[in-house]
């Protein structure tokens, strides 16, 4: 489990202020700060310059694996390993195998995408530190880790106040 970082956190009350804060923080040149919100906020990606998620590639790859895995399984079991006359049908009855292939496609795609999310968000995390209990309820926050370049506690708290943070504190995250 990744050890937690230390740094400064500013707590905000409204959606608008946190978006502004995010922009500002980025302009200040901070790279790996975190913007924390109880729900996804539109425009946050731009504000924090977050790249589009890469999970779809995983999904697509897994889907292909599922599809051809299904084909291979059905073909090998019923036409190669144990070719047996069932109801006078051909050993390799492709049309009948399509449902299997389809279901496996979905299954692989879905499960590996979830896996990808877990990887991307480093989940599961055991008892991560919490800056403020309300961050999953009604409040928003920006957290700047102390290893970020140009990290200066006084400057940062000043900035947060200017942005209208209701609270500024040193925090573990």
């Amino acid at each position: 489990m990744a050890s937690w970082k230390y740094g400064m956190a500013g707590i905000f009350e409204t959606e608008e202020s946190i978006i502004k804060a995010a922009y500002k923080t980025r302009e200040m040149g901070f790279k790996n700060f975190e913007a924390i919100s109880p729900y996804p906020i539109h425009g946050m990606e731009e504000a924090c310059a977050i790249k589009r998620s890469w999970i779809p590639y995983v999904t697509f790859g897994a889907a292909l694996v599922g599809l051809f895995g299904g084909l291979a399984l059905t073909y090998w079991t019923s036409a190669v390993d144990w070719a047996i006359n069932v109801g006078g049908k051909p050993f390799f009855s492709l049309p009948a195998f399509i449902p299997i292939m389809f279901e496996l496609t979905i299954l692989f795609a879905a499960l590996s995408s979830v896996g990808a999310l877990f990887y991307a968000c480093g989940m599961p995390k055991i008892d991560p530190p919490i800056i403020d209990k309300d961050l999953t309820c009604s409040k928003f926050a920006i957290f700047i880790p102390n290893d970020d370049n140009g990290y200066d506690e006084s400057k940062i708290s000043e900035m947060f106040r200017a942005l209208g943070a209701s609270e500024v504190k040193k925090a573990e995250f």
């Binding site: 047996i84 006359n85 069932v86 109801g87 006078g88 049908k89 051909p90």
Partner: protein
């Protein structure tokens, strides 16, 4: 358990010689000694049902036991019998050469059902009979075997059989107070003491065994005893008729194969009359080739199996039997002035009253005229039969006279009717029974020995029960304390026919040997030995009775003195005997050679007067499963559907649709039928094709002490029989029928009776067939989207000729016995859970009033494109390289999808763990070559795949190719008409291949669905002079 293990090992270590003596000892103790019992029991591990250790040692009768006793060729050992013969017992550690472990051998034997006798091949595995099949060498049954004959093996293993002699302690009302077990010694002592007092009567059913008849007559001679023969299905009316008409007291031999036109008036010769299997065979002979097929016209008062096979069936009531026969006689002899009795004034006078009876019958003028012409045209080659319980009326005598007159007038006598080959065993007579009752009541009879008949049940209404109480002592040889047994002082259980030596004669000089195929299972003694023993002890009777030690010896002597000179053909007796054992039958009399014609005593005819009758008439009839009610404790027969009504586990009162409507009767309503003083409550069955004034009830049901299986099944119709000086009146009596408030459910294996216009049974009239052999057999243009799998080597197929199949249902029991098919009972048949692998569908065609019948045996069709296989998720049913639709029991998880997808619905599911319910020693009847299916798996016809394997192994051993006919599947083997053919479709010369490729009548069931079944049916041809009105698409509703 453990100490018996030590027993075994120690036994194993002791030298063989010593061990043999040990077996000797144990045999001596055999009967009683519990210690030995325990040892013997815990020794074997062979029960097909054995599961886990919890019931080890409870396995009362299993293979090893028989192995030890195998080769006990003289099956007379009865521990405790005072004259125990010395016999050689072969322990299995010295395996008899004729026995190979795991290979079944066949022993010829014989069994008789009433007066019909069958040649048997008893299939025996490690010394226990598992199945009976027909012996092709038998001159009459020719390999055919009735359902009953095959089912009787279960009566051997019936758990309720008496296991030794018993004594009933009677109170002064002579109703059984208590039953204690007795010793043979004491019984013999008591018997001899009693017999010496005189006044002895031996009451038996028809005795088919010449040797036994000899024993009885010797015994009677010795003790000045009287021999009375009675059983309910007596044929005395025929004998009296013959006597009055021709002067000889016989039941003649009939040649249904020779007859071109057969008229049957209530004589159910295909189902229950005299020798049904023999007659069925003959009948099929006459119809195999449709072009020359005979014509069967049946005047039927109950819907009999014969009626169901009629080309023209006319529903009548008993009081019309005379009208039919005399009407025909009149139109032939008077109107058409045909035959040597034409112009005879007394004949004319006798026939006049019947001048135009045809109008009263449910038959069109044309059809009647055609029938008259046909009969004349086929003079000497036609046959008129009347008889059976349905004709045991007040006018039974006249009916017989009329029938005999017709045969005489048509010159059939001596050709299709042959009095020179009489039915020697048919001695039963109701007059004799009435005489006996009289004597009993008069106190003339002190001792009665009852064998092979159960009058207190089957003569319920005759007063026999009360009369019997007048006798001082009663001996009964039955295998259980049944209705009559209850009133016997001593139960002296006879061996089962499979345990005893004997012989059997059906028609004169057609004799077969009965050799035991298993050592007596219990402490029973053959009735013959009982009689011999008593004669020996009383030192009376002829030498041949008292000298031999066992009945086996008596039998051999009898054959040496009586039969060898006649049939020996110069062979030494030993060879003659050996041959008889080998082939199972001797004395194939000149069955086909016509004998001389007799002259009819015309004066007798003047006694025949028209019958005045009105209102409902009672008809009693036997069923082909139950006959007179013996064997009714055999579960197979209880669950074998009545061929026409398809009802199981019950008898019923059949009434016509119109009668039901007018009386507001619904199926299952309990009716009260009152005849004279006697009443009977019985559920109603609404039956198409019945005369509106008839209520028909089957006898043989309603046993009260027949055993767990049969007690309470149906009601005893014998209670409606009216006994009088003249004999017994079964049918034709005026019956008053009232509907009670009670209701029951009748379990039927088929609930819908019409084909809904679908091509299921294809049917054509003879005229249509002559025009076009493929009449009513529409072919479909079928193509497939891919080439399909190739079958090189064998490809099994079956062909079924619907024209010769009579629906007798023998195949169903054969299959049941061969494949260990379970019986589920009435409750579950009602829920549609019967398990038969082969079933016989019956459809009605034509109008409901005059419904005709078609039969169709249906089993797994082994489709090349089997719909069941495609849908099984676990590949539990797949196709073999020989075109078999294999069912893999141990892979089946039981989704039942296969059954849903089977267009023929031939698959059966094990809803419960039936195997667990098989009561010991019943499990010994199981066929070790066929798996006993567990709960939750699907099962179905396998084309007797184990028989295919067996035949292949055999051919390999003899290193030759399998040839057509090597394989006989169970149903095919048992079919008396040879309607079923099995073989290799890839062999162009096989019989099936020929039918598949060449026969114009062949068609596949539901052909248009292209399941490509490996079974072909052949169009049924109806010889009814019609030109196409009746088609396969009949719509008779019921």
């Amino acid at each position: 358990m453990s100490e018996t293990h030590n027993e075994n090992t120690s036994a194993a270590n002791t030298p063989a010689s010593v061990r043999d003596t040990k077996y000797w000892m144990s045999l001596e103790q055999w009967g009683g000694d519990p210690e030995f019992q325990k040892l013997a029991e815990t020794e074997f591990m062979s029960s097909p049902l054995r599961e886990g250790a919890e019931n080890e040692g409870q396995d009362g009768w299993a293979r090893r036991e028989f192995l030890k006793l195998m080769g006990a060729s003289l099956a007379m050992a009865t521990a405790g019998c005072i004259r125990r013969p010395v016999q050689k017992i072969v322990p299995y550690n010295k395996q008899p050469e004729e026995v190979t472990h795991g290979v079944s051998n066949f022993y010829t034997s014989t069994w008789s059902d009433g007066v019909e006798t069958f040649g048997l091949l008893v299939k025996s595995r490690e010394g226990r009979p598992t199945k009976v099949e027909g012996n092709p060498n038998h001159a009459l049954s020719k390999g055919g075997l009735s359902a009953r004959a095959q089912a009787h093996i279960l009566s051997l293993y019936d758990p309720e059989r008496l296991q030794g002699p018993k004594r009933n302690l009677q109170n002064k009302e002579r109703t059984n107070r208590d039953t204690i077990s007795a010793k043979w010694e004491d019984i013999d002592a008591a018997a001899v003491k009693q017999l010496k007092k005189g006044g002895v009567v031996v009451l038996t059913g028809n005795l088919t065994s010449p040797a036994t008849r000899a024993v009885v007559s010797d015994f009677c001679q010795g003790f000045k005893a009287q021999h009375v023969v009675w059983e309910p299905l007596a044929h005395d009316e025929i004998r009296e008729g013959q006597k009055a008409a021709f002067g000889d007291d016989v039941v003649p031999y009939y040649r249904f194969d020779e007859a071109k036109v057969i008229v049957s008036v209530d004589a159910d010769f295909l189902g229950t009359w005299i020798a049904p299997t023999t007659f069925t065979k003959q009948f099929a002979e006459g119809r195999k080739n449709p072009k020359t097929m005979s014509k069967l016209v049946v005047f039927d008062s109950a819907y009999s199996l014969t009626g169901a096979n009629a080309d023209i069936r006319v529903r009548i009531k008993p009081s019309q039997q005379l009208d039919v026969l005399m009407g025909l006689a009149h139109d032939i002899v008077v109107t058409k002035a045909f035959g040597k009795y034409a112009g005879n004034s007394s004949v004319k006078a006798a026939l006049e009253p019947f001048a135009n009876v045809a109008g009263k019958l449910a038959i069109s003028k044309e059809a009647w005229q055609k029938l008259v012409e046909d009969l004349i045209h086929h003079k000497g080659k036609s046959l008129v039969v009347a008889g059976g319980l349905q004709t045991k009326t007040e006018w039974a005598h006249e009916v017989q006279l009329a029938a005999n007159f017709l045969n005489a007038a048509l010159g059939n006598d001596g050709n299709t009717v042959d009095a020179k080959i009489p039915l020697t065993s048919a001695k039963a007579s109701n007059k004799e029974l009435m005489g006996l009752i009289e004597d009993l009541n008069a106190g003339k009879v002190k001792t009665v020995i009852i064998h092979k008949t159960n009058p207190i049940y089957s003569a319920a209404n005759s007063g026999f029960a009360s009369a019997l109480k007048k006798a001082e002592m009663v001996f009964y040889t039955g295998d259980r304390i049944d209705e009559t047994g209850k009133q016997a002082d001593y139960m002296i259980p006879d061996n089962h026919s499979m345990e005893a030596w004997g012989d059997s004669e059906s028609y004169k000089d057609v004799i077969s040997l009965q050799q035991p195929t298993i050592r007596p299972m219990y402490d029973t003694r053959s009735v013959q030995l009982s009689l011999m023993t008593w004669a020996f002890m009383a030192e009376t009777g002829p030498k041949r009775l008292t000298t031999p030690e066992t009945f086996y010896d008596y039998l051999r002597n009898f054959w040496r003195d009586e039969l060898h000179p006649k049939f020996g053909k110069g062979k030494s007796f030993e060879d003659f005997w050996e041959d008889a054992l080998q082939s199972g039958a001797i004395g194939v009399a000149s069955l086909d050679k016509p004998s001389s014609e007799r002259t009819f005593k015309v004066e007798a005819l003047s006694a025949v007067k028209p019958v005045k009758a009105s209102g409902m008439e009672l008809v009693l009839h036997p069923t082909s499963m139950f006959m007179d009610g013996t064997l009714s404790n055999v579960s197979w027969l209880n669950e074998l559907p009545e061929p026409v009504t398809k009802v199981v586990w019950d008898n019923y009162a059949s009434v016509s649709i119109k009668t039901a409507e007018s009386m507001k009767i619904a199926q299952g309503d309990v009716l009260e039928v009152k005849v004279g003083e006697s009443t009977l409550q019985v559920p109603a069955l609404i039956q198409p094709g019945m005369h509106d004034d008839v209520v028909a009830i089957a006898v043989g049901y309603g046993r009260t002490a027949g055993g767990k299986v049969t007690n309470g099944v149906g009601s005893n119709a014998y209670q409606l029989v009216q006994f009088g000086k003249a004999g017994a009146v079964y049918s034709g009596a005026k019956a008053s029928v009232t509907k009670t408030s009670l209701k029951t459910k009748l379990a039927t294996t088929q609930t819908h009776h019409t084909m809904e216009g679908r091509k299921i049974v294809a049917e054509a009239t003879l005229n249509e067939y002559v025009k076009d052999e493929a009449a009513n057999n529409h072919k479909h243009k079928i193509w497939s989207i891919w080439s399909g799998h190739q079958y090189n080597g064998n490809k099994w197929g079956m062909a079924i000729d619907l024209n010769t199949c009579t629906g007798c249902s023998a195949c169903m029991v054969a299959c049941q016995s061969e494949n260990n098919i379970t019986v589920v009972g009435k409750k579950y048949v009602l829920e549609g859970r019967e398990m038969h692998w082969i079933r016989i569908d019956r459809y009605y065609v034509g109008t409901p009033e005059d419904a005709h019948t078609v039969f169709q045996p249906v089993m797994c069709q082994h489709c090349d494109n089997a719909p069941c296989e495609t849908v099984c998720p676990v590949l539990a049913t797949v196709h073999s390289s020989e075109g078999l639709n294999d069912m893999v029991y141990n892979r089946c998880v039981g989704t039942r999808y296969c059954s849903n997808n089977c267009p023929y619905k031939v698959r059966r599911f094990n809803w419960f763990n039936y195997a667990k319910l098989i009561e010991k020693p019943m499990h010994l009847a199981l066929n070790p070559e066929v798996t006993v299916r567990p709960r939750g798996v699907m099962e179905k016809c396998t084309f007797c795949t184990h028989r295919i394997k067996e035949a292949r192994v055999k051919s390999r051993v003899e290193n030759r190719e399998l040839k057509d006919g090597d394989i006989k599947v169970a149903c095919e083997q048992s079919c008396p008409t040879g309607a079923i053919t099995f073989g290799d479709m890839n062999d162009p010369n096989s019989r099936v291949a020929k039918i598949f490729n060449e026969d114009k009548r062949a068609y596949a069931l539901l052909e248009e669905f292209h399941a490509a079944p490996s079974v072909r049916y052949m169009t049924k041809i109806r010889n009814n002079d019609k030109g196409g009105e009746t088609s396969s698409h009949g719509g008779g509703h019921s």
